[in-house]
């Protein structure tokens, strides 16, 4: 039953599963897993079968033979110590090989450095070579090794995008490293895998692997200020933003908003999700977010600012125009 279910899980309907890896890193882990899996199944079936056989075979029967003491049998004892030891060696060798591969620093000279900083309960991504700062969604080029630098601003978090790489912890006061190379374009799910408090359940992220040309285009637009506003509602929204608490927590490049407590919103309109992967980035959801953020993502560190419905709608129009 377990096996059937396993097969089920590795299907495409479960994009979270690492059973369908999409990077060199994840593929290594998957191969190792498969090897161990069959050893473990073998051991389990054999030992359990022997146990059950013995129980059934030697059940008490009226008039049955009197139990005989079996004396220590040297060969048998050596056998059953050696057998598990050999199996473990068989498991240890590929494991050690894997570890040295996945734990070493990236060998690719040309690797793209991306900093991932964990915060309660969202992700900040920085591209020091490209001068880009963004949140919750990291774009990466297909085929180029990503050299991730992991840091934390508060408590422990853990970076995990099952199909690409991780887990590796984000530890305050240290920098951990992780690398992988995506082999096909797509949107990959990930989330924090180390318990980090109330809203740990909603600390998701997306890694978006683009073909190199698309990635260049993204870099060009992301590095610049947002496009100019066109609608009156958007301009009204900007005014609301700048005259409320929002401005003290969020940064919008090219404006007076330079807060660093919350996610950078410079190109918020081009993100797929909001609230660290909690909601799809639609107008209705954004209004919900601003209106009742503590309801949407209980415990998160953004307060509910008192605003009229109209102001909220204007804010939403403004933020969605930030492309």
């Amino acid at each position: 039953m377990g096996l059937v279910a396993l097969q089920g899980c590795s299907g495409d309907s479960y994009p979270q599963s690492a059973m369908h890896p999409s990077s060199d890193f994840a593929t290594r882990l998957d191969d190792l897993f498969d090897q161990i899996f069959w050893w473990a199944v073998g051991v389990f079936v054999v030992v359990e079968a022997v146990l059950i056989y013995v129980i059934v075979r030697f059940r008490e029967r009226p008039g049955g033979p009197r139990p005989q003491e079996i004396h220590g049998h040297v060969l048998m004892e050596i056998g059953w110590t050696l057998a598990p030891a050999l199996i473990l060696v068989a498991i240890a060798i590929p494991t050690i090989q894997t570890i040295f591969v996945v734990d070493r620093p990236p060998t690719d000279e040309n690797a793209l450095v991306v900093e991932a900083i964990g915060r309660q309960w969202w992700w900040e991504f920085r591209y020091p070579e490209l001068g880009i700062v963004t949140a919750n969604e990291a774009h990466i080029p297909v085929g180029r090794t990503i050299d991730l630098r992991l840091r934390s601003a508060d408590v422990l978090h853990s970076f995990w995008v099952p199909k690409l790489g991780g887990k590796r912890d984000l530890v305050p006061g240290r920098e951990n490293q992780l690398w992988f190379t995506a082999d096909s374009a797509g949107v990959y799910w990930g989330q924090c895998a180390e318990y980090c408090g109330t809203a740990h359940a909603w600390m998701g992220m997306r890694v978006i692997a683009d073909e190199p040309a698309d990635f260049e285009a993204w870099v060009a637009s992301e590095g610049a200020d947002a496009v100019a506003l066109t609608q009156p509602a958007e301009r009204a929204g900007q005014a609301v933003f700048m005259s409320n608490a929002c401005v003290s927590c969020h940064r919008i490049q090219g404006t007076a908003a330079v807060g660093v407590f919350g996610p950078d919103l410079t190109h918020f309109g081009s993100r797929l999700t909001l609230g660290a992967g909690v909601l799809e980035n639609t107008e209705a959801n954004l209004i919900r977010w601003i209106d009742s953020t503590q309801h949407v993502k209980p415990g998160n560190l953004m307060p509910e600012v008192q605003l009229s419905d109209q102001q909220v709608a204007q804010l939403a129009a403004y933020l969605r125009a930030l492309r």
Binding site: S13, L29, F33, L51, G173, R174, G299
Partner: protein, 571 residues
């Protein structure tokens, strides 16, 4: 330890604190220093806490299966409540259920009886141990109701999350939790002193080291492991307490501390702790298996030395909990090798049990079913542990439900199956009456089958990428699709909890109306069966303390007509 094999010093059993006119009436049960009463105190406190821990699991499993509903008997579960429930469920099950029941309750009840002593060496320390434990239990329960709610920083309490109220939002709860855990440790240090000294010094004349029943050895070795491992963590707990309350920064990098330090202190204790609770359960299993297969334990000494080896090794595996915290790959590999190595003695223990069963005459009554189920289920816990020990695979599996299911396949057999095995086996001796075997078997199957139905789906969920300590999976579309597995696991839990009523009924009915137990209903060899059921104060009449002539497992001896040979029968 070596010369203990020759000492059987009667003089060492001083009669201090052992007047036969202790407190009377109800006080007798509260203020007694009798090891059997203290055992009962631990037992009933532990069972009560087990109920609490199980009901907590019910609440958060309901939330997982039906997110957002108002859980009958509890109400809507908020994220913070969920985290607090999970944290305290884990802490309670390990520190307030597994340890008090397996080590303290059965250690207290069995060790003096099995080695033929009239009480523990230090009865007053023993009483103090329970009292400290009791306070700790009250504190942990109280911590759930203080302002801000219970501690929600996971049972591993990793700082900085656990160190600051504004990170975990439960400052008072967190502090009470920490004090409760520290007191619990102290209670078990006090208890451990008695187990070790009593077994070493108060043995009946004639009882050599290898004549001691394995369950006593296991409890004593567990106590030694506990004493050796807990020291650093008590220090760590005090440091964390200071971080929480007076603003030190031992674990805070902003103030020169290091959060990883806690992980080392915690797991240096935490991994041996697994063996601290495992060994008593293993000892219980082996004693029962020998009795009901009417065979001598295969390889008593192999068993003993294997256990010692496992204990020693268990001090060298702790960093396998930090494979993904970013430790040096060379170090990761060292710890991976020790971790894999430790499965060799575990495999050995499994073979010893099978070899004991082999050729026996196996009676499948309730205690024996529990003992065999322990082996059968623990095996799955052991095998799945290999995945996690193999560092590479652990990178994926760490902190998923695969890990969760793995350690429940070790802890559940230990804490729940082991407890029921011991309780059904020694019930006649503890309470002087027999339990109903049919009801016992109904309860057995009603627990074991749902147990597997709860946790096998969780393995599958873990491989599918479901991670731990998430109170609602509906926000992860890819994980939400696996909802049927969650519902199935929760339903199985409810069935399992309902079957506990059968046990409860059986327990109460047997206490009141069960047939009177003779001294030795199972025809077992060990000394506890040579006195009345239940044993009187002082265990044996003062002039009739037993003398020992042979090992504890002489079943079906060829020189003897009867198929058992009590340890105290002169040749």
């Amino acid at each position: 330890m070596a010369d203990a094999s020759v000492t059987t010093v009667e003089g060492a059993v001083e009669h201090h604190a052992h007047e036969h006119h202790g407190p009377q009436g109800i006080l007798k049960y509260i203020w007694s220093t009798d090891h059997k009463i203290i055992a009962m105190q631990y037992l009933f406190t532990g069972l009560f806490m087990g109920l609490v821990g199980g009901l907590m699991a019910y609440v958060f499993r309901m939330q997982l299966a039906f997110p957002g509903i108002s859980v009958p008997g509890f109400g809507v579960v908020s994220p913070h409540e969920y985290n607090a429930l999970v944290t305290n469920h884990g802490s309670i099950m390990i520190f307030w259920v597994a340890m008090p029941v397996l080590i303290a309750a059965f250690g207290n009840f069995l060790i003096p009886l099995m080695v033929g002593a009239d009480d523990m060496v230090f009865p007053k320390i023993n009483r103090l141990s329970y009292q400290v434990f009791f306070v700790s239990a009250v504190l942990i329960l109280a911590s759930l109701f203080v302002e801000g709610g219970g501690f929600g920083g996971a049972w591993t309490a990793y700082p900085p999350l656990s160190a600051q109220g504004d990170y975990n939002l439960s400052s008072l709860g967190a502090t009470l939790w920490l004090i409760a855990v520290a007191l619990e440790f102290i209670a078990f240090l006090l208890g451990g002193i008695n187990f070790i000294t009593t077994m070493m010094n108060s043995r009946a004349p004639g009882m050599k080291a290898y004549d001691i029943p394995l369950v006593c050895w296991m409890i004593v070795i567990a106590s030694i492991l506990f004493m050796l491992s807990v020291g650093p963590l008590i220090a760590g707990a005090i440091m964390l307490l200071f971080d929480q309350t007076i603003g030190t920064g031992f674990f805070d990098p902003a103030r020169g501390g290091d959060p990883i330090l806690w992980q080392h202190l915690f797991w240096f204790f935490g991994h041996p702790e697994v063996y601290v609770v495992l060994l008593p359960a293993l000892g219980i299993t082996i004693d029962i298996v020998a009795t009901f297969s009417r065979k001598k334990v295969f390889g008593y000494k192999i068993m003993l030395y294997t256990v010692v080896a496992t204990g020693v090794l268990s001090f060298f595996v702790w960093a396998h909990h930090q494979f993904i915290a970013g430790i040096d790959p060379r170090m990761a590999n060292v710890f991976m090798v020790t971790t894999l190595l430790i499965s060799v003695p575990i495999a050995e223990l499994c073979f010893v049990v099978i070899a004991t069963l082999y050729g026996g005459s196996i009676t499948l009554n309730t205690p024996m079913l529990w003992a065999l189920a322990f082996m059968a289920e623990f095996l799955l816990g052991g095998v799945t542990g290999i995945f996690l020990g193999a560092t590479g695979a652990d990178i994926y599996l760490h902190d998923t439900y695969f890990v969760l299911a793995h350690f429940h396949y070790t802890f559940f057999p230990i804490a729940i199956i082991g407890t029921f095995a011991a309780l059904t086996y020694w019930f006649p001796k503890m309470f002087g009456r027999m339990m109903n075997d049919t009801l016992g078997k109904i309860h057995f199957w009603g627990t074991i089958i749902p147990f597997n139905f709860i946790f096998i789906p969780l393995f599958v969920l873990g491989l599918g990428g479901q991670h731990r300590r998430i109170y609602d999976f509906q926000n992860f579309p890819e994980l939400a699709a696996m909802q049927p597995f969650r519902v199935f696991a929760t339903m199985s839990l409810i069935v399992m909890l309902l079957f506990q009523l059968v046990f409860f009924y059986n327990f109460i009915q047997s206490l009141r109306k069960g047939p009177k137990a003779e001294r030795n209903p199972w025809k077992a060899n060990t000394l506890e069966w040579t006195t009345e059921s239940p044993p009187p104060h002082g265990n044996w009449p003062p002039d009739q303390l037993p003398r020992v002539y042979r090992g504890p497992y002489e079943y079906a001896h060829p020189d003897r007509e009867e198929d058992y040979w009590p340890q105290n029968l002169p040749a």
